[in-house]
Amino acid sequence: MSKSSSLYVDGDSFFHRMDGAVKLVLLLVWTAVTFLFLDLRIFVVLLVAGISMLLVARIPIKRMKFLFWMLTLFTLMNSIFILLITPRFGSTLTGSNTPLIPLGYDTINVETLFYVLTLSLKYLTLCPITLLFIFTTHPSRFAASLNKLGVPYKMAYAVSIAFRYIPDLSQEFRHILNAMQMRGLGISRGDGNLKQRMRNLSLVVVPLLQSSLQHIESVSDAMDLRGFGTKPKRTWYMGTRAMRSDKIVVLLCVLLLTVGIVLKLQVVQGFWYPL
């Protein structure tokens, strides 16, 4: 794992320059629109659009590979899970039943297989836009963006603190685990049976908590000493100004959402099944 908790990759693409708040709006609208549907055609369109946006941002594929595989692995497992537990679920959506693979206790039908494909694509649709957001948005711009979107600055700053201290706490956690393991109190397979390992894990919670409370004390002292929270508003060093292109993107987002809602209400209500 890298030393910083952010995955931000420096660059100068259209999306790097885009206002963080606008990108967040884009992510949320995209997610909302995806939630509306269960239609393969729409997901294909969104997925292609999302991937082209990723290409525009020119993020090194090597960096994104891990997250992409994580999600693929998840959807794969999820699909298998669905096929095994509810092999004929698709029928409840289509009303038809075309048996395909016998399982013994039941039979997977074509409808469910197609449903699983649609669902997997739905999950994957969310991936490019999320990657776009996290790889092109500096986490400190992120807090400023939240504030801009109307989130109270104290809450926005809590997010910034979380990003700031994840690496510190992770490292401390590893250290503590390691020292415990040397005393024979580890949590990996060689350290005893499940019960013992659970007990050992519970031991780690104490020092970890202790040290987080210590962090809370010293960080809030430091912030108090520098005047945090005394004014109703605060400015952001890393804040960005919305440019004309940003306003256009917001308009496009509104358009996307409207089209989504109209489509949902008028054209494609439920599960799309062509067969």
């Binding site: 669902l119 603190i161 979380a162 690496p167 949590i187 499940l194 210590q214 929270g229």
Partner: protein, 205 residues
């Protein structure tokens, strides 16, 4: 060798903020930092777990939520849980599971209800049996309410099959319950015990 208690001013155990429980709606700097550090802690520990079944792990993160809820109240717990989950998803899973992130917040908020009982004050070592019982009840209810929420969210937003979600919710609920009972509850108890007044200690030769 000197005897125990050292009165160093920087020991940090004698802070004004620690003596009285602040209201859950007052956002002091400490509240902001607590939320941030709580979320960071959730993110920092989410990568580890003891696998007990395929795709299911015992993660200390839930226990930490319980502790943060109990020590700082439902509002801090909710926000820390939610932010921690979202950030962790950003870093580790390639997409944000909004339903489950809200679920983490809800769990912590329920566990934080114990903070509202007037005479519960683990920072000064005050914790009684009845607190522990209500803490467990809040926790159990919280875990299942939040999972029911996350499950319904997946059914409505993602269109997941009901039966599969039911199985998922029950198994995840049991795992979280185990972590809560095995790691979370004892940790809060131990924390309170540590802060109990250490009067009447005798040196035994």
């Amino acid at each position: 060798m000197n005897t125990g208690i050292q009165g160093s001013g920087s020991s940090g155990e004698c802070k004004g903020g620690f003596l009285m429980k602040p209201s859950i709606w007052k956002w002091s700097t400490r509240t902001v930092v607590t939320i941030g550090i709580g979320a960071a802690l959730y993110g920092a520990t989410s990568w580890i777990g003891i696998p007990i079944a395929p795709d299911t792990q015992l993660r200390p993160a839930i226990a930490l939520l319980a502790i943060f809820g109990a020590l700082f109240g439902p509002v801090v717990g909710f926000i820390a849980g939610f932010i921690g989950h979202v950030i962790n998803d950003f870093i580790q899973s390639g997409t944000v599971w909004w339903g489950w992130a809200l679920g983490s917040g809800i769990t912590a908020a329920f566990m934080g209800l114990i903070y509202l009982s007037k005479d519960f004050n683990p920072k000064d070592g005050v914790i009684k049996k009845k607190h522990l019982i209500s803490f467990i009840i809040y926790g159990v209810v919280g875990i299942f309410v939040s999972l029911a929420f996350s499950g319904l969210f997946d059914i409505y937003a993602m269109g997941e099959p009901n039966n599969k979600i039911v199985i998922q919710v029950i198994s995840a609920g049991l795992v979280n319950l185990a972590v809560f009972l095995i790691l979370g509850v004892p940790a809060v108890w131990a924390y309170a015990k540590r802060n109990r007044n250490n009067a009447n200690l005798t040196v035994e030769r």
